[in-house]
Symmetry: C2
Subunit: 375 residues, 2 copies
């Protein structure tokens, strides 16, 4: 399950309580010395070269209150886990962030993060979006999910929420990336939506349980969305909006940056149009998005190349669901769930995971083994 020793994992969990997301100085230390040593140096009193004394002082205060065992237990009690670089579930594309790579990710939900993120697209945009933005985001996300792509967003108001809802409505795969602990629904009025994401999809964040978002944490959260996905689609954004920062970040990481145009008379499309006049690619529907993201990173894409992991390396639940599919023909999720004796959401999560790994295909509302999986 893990390539990371227990002490390193525990130290990384502790560091998520202490270190602000995206701290490059700590990232460099981690790379040079490992997490356990970095944690010990934050415990001590020696000078830490390359970091402002005020920040060192802040981190040392937090160190005193860090309790990784309690945090790990709390998230485990919610059915979650802490995923570290090197873990089977770790999405290797996050390593592109270099010294800004997350220390680890707190994850809730049944599916495995890595295969889901392999075929994922971010759909982001204005919080105060228009009806047009809501409609476009929901439709785009539903169609992406319908075609086997995972929709990643930030669970915020407006475009984010519409994107998650669209993917959920299509019984598709969706990942909510929070700027808070995965037990802290933010915004609070999205608690219901975030619970549904957790049930049917995945909830992910860098911050330990109980932590709240701040302005800089939102910005740093956006780098995770950008790095996790093959590309970012901006649906409505004013000039100088946060979504454009995510897009620029995605671009810097070599990901595709796409934008959905809108009326030139709408200020909510002005930022998108600015993007499209620069490096952004114009997309009008899911098929166009997939045509673009499907082209890049074919090293990541299992599609048409058969499974990316051997059948006997599948998790227990995924293997059970795979065995529940008919050898010939297709079955709907209810039939498969009854067959394997698992809940609907759990079955669906595993089916999407198997889809991402190349074992099954979705045909509208039904599921079928790929020719490779049938052999």
């Amino acid at each position: 399950m893990s390539a990371t020793g227990w002490e390193e994992r525990r130290a990384r969990a502790a560091l998520t309580r202490i270190v602000e997301p995206g701290d490059e100085t700590v990232g460099r230390w981690l790379r040079e010395r490992g997490a356990a040593r970095v944690l010990r140096s934050l415990a001590g009193q020696e000078e830490l070269p390359g970091m402002a004394p005020r920040r060192v002082a802040g981190y040392r205060l937090r160190y005193a209150r860090a309790d990784p065992d309690t945090d790990l237990a709390a998230v485990a009690a919610l059915g979650g886990r802490f995923v570290c670089p090197g873990d089977v579930e770790w999405p290797a594309q996050l390593n592109d962030l270099g010294d800004q790579r997350p220390l680890g990710l707190w994850v809730r939900g049944r599916a495995s993060l890595r295969p889901w993120a392999l075929r994922s697209v971010a759909v982001v945009g204005a919080r105060a979006c228009s009806d047009y933005g809501t409609r476009v985001a929901a439709t785009l996300a539903a169609d992406l999910a319908e075609r086997g792509w995972t929709v990643v967003s930030g669970a915020a108001f407006g475009v984010d929420g519409a994107a998650h809802r669209g993917a959920l409505a299509a019984t598709g795969a969706t990942i909510g990336v929070l700027a808070s602990g995965v037990d802290v629904p933010y915004p609070p009025s999205h608690a219901g939506l975030i619970a549904r994401i957790t049930e049917q999809g995945l909830l992910v964040g860098e911050l330990p349980p109980g932590d709240h978002p701040t302005r800089s944490r939102f910005i740093m959260r956006n780098r995770v969305i950008a790095a996790l996905t093959r590309g970012t689609v901006v649906v409505e954004a004013k000039l100088r909006s946060g979504s454009l920062i995510t897009a620029r970040r995605a671009r810097a990481l070599g990901r595709l940056v796409m934008g959905v145009p809108g009326p030139v008379t709408s200020a909510l499309s002005a930022g998108v149009h600015e993007l499209l006049r620069g490096e952004g690619l114009l997309v009008t529907d899911a098929a166009e998005v997939i045509e673009l993201v499907g082209r890049v990173g074919d090293d990541l894409a299992p599609e048409r190349q058969g499974p990316v992991v051997a059948r006997d390396l599948l998790g227990q639940e995924a293997a059970r669901v795979l065995d529940g599919l008919p050898a010939q023909g297709s079955a709907d999720v209810e039939t498969i769930a009854v067959q394997v004796g698992m809940g609907l959401d759990e079955t669906l999560s595993r089916l999407h995971e198997l889809r991402a790994l190349g074992f099954v295909e979705r045909e509208s509302d039904r599921w079928v083994l790929t020719s490779v999986a049938r052999r």
Copy 2:
């Protein structure tokens, strides 16, 4: 006034009655033998190699009815003229059409075609456009005209009409390019608009007086719009629409192709979005259009380089209007018209001509000599 001899000019006028616009075979003959000889060979009975016998027969029937002296007199009676390649008023950029270059252009209106076309942009799009398309086309055209650019379009319903109206409302320069004779308003219900274009702007066409448009003449008309202008802006177009053909033509001629995005939920923007996903450049307002077209063809652009023709080469009316401007400061068009004793529309046409030639500048509603003209 003219570099073309009377016989050649008369032959070209006759050929506009006989030859379909854009006939490349005739274009090649013209290049090789001159208009008078081509006309004579259409009069005779000898075989014409390289042209289908049926077409030759059709042209010979038309030859029998051609009466260039009557046509030239009819258009002159309407205050118009026949402009030939090589004339002072001939827009040299039309030569880019090669053997598809118009035989000549029938022109109505007070201004000189060449300087107006030097700084011109085509604004085209769907006939059955939406309210959004109407609003965007009118605003874009008004702002282009306000900034001294000539708005060229086809006088059709929808985007074309809105573009002309926007330019006229801004007391700006506009050119209507017809697929019929310049005395045949098409569509008929645009007779009022076309009359206003003729009064305040320029009306242009390849076809002799009395001729009506056909499907192929519309398509060939579009090549004139594409070639005449520095760039073409498409405002609303369905997939596979005629405006996209104009745009493709413009692109093939090395002109800029631009598109105004709209809601992805509108079929009337789908063609524009397709264009923008290819070679088209996204623009949202006049400033962005000018930024693009202002860059190219600086050899054509007199702006900031002083007048492109010497003062004593100006036409009589243009020279009179130029003399009517104050040596210092600005004047409005009414003051200048009174000063020089000309009508408002005529004065305005000449001011736009002088603007295109680099002698005057527009400052909102007032006109001022350029520093070069002041010397």
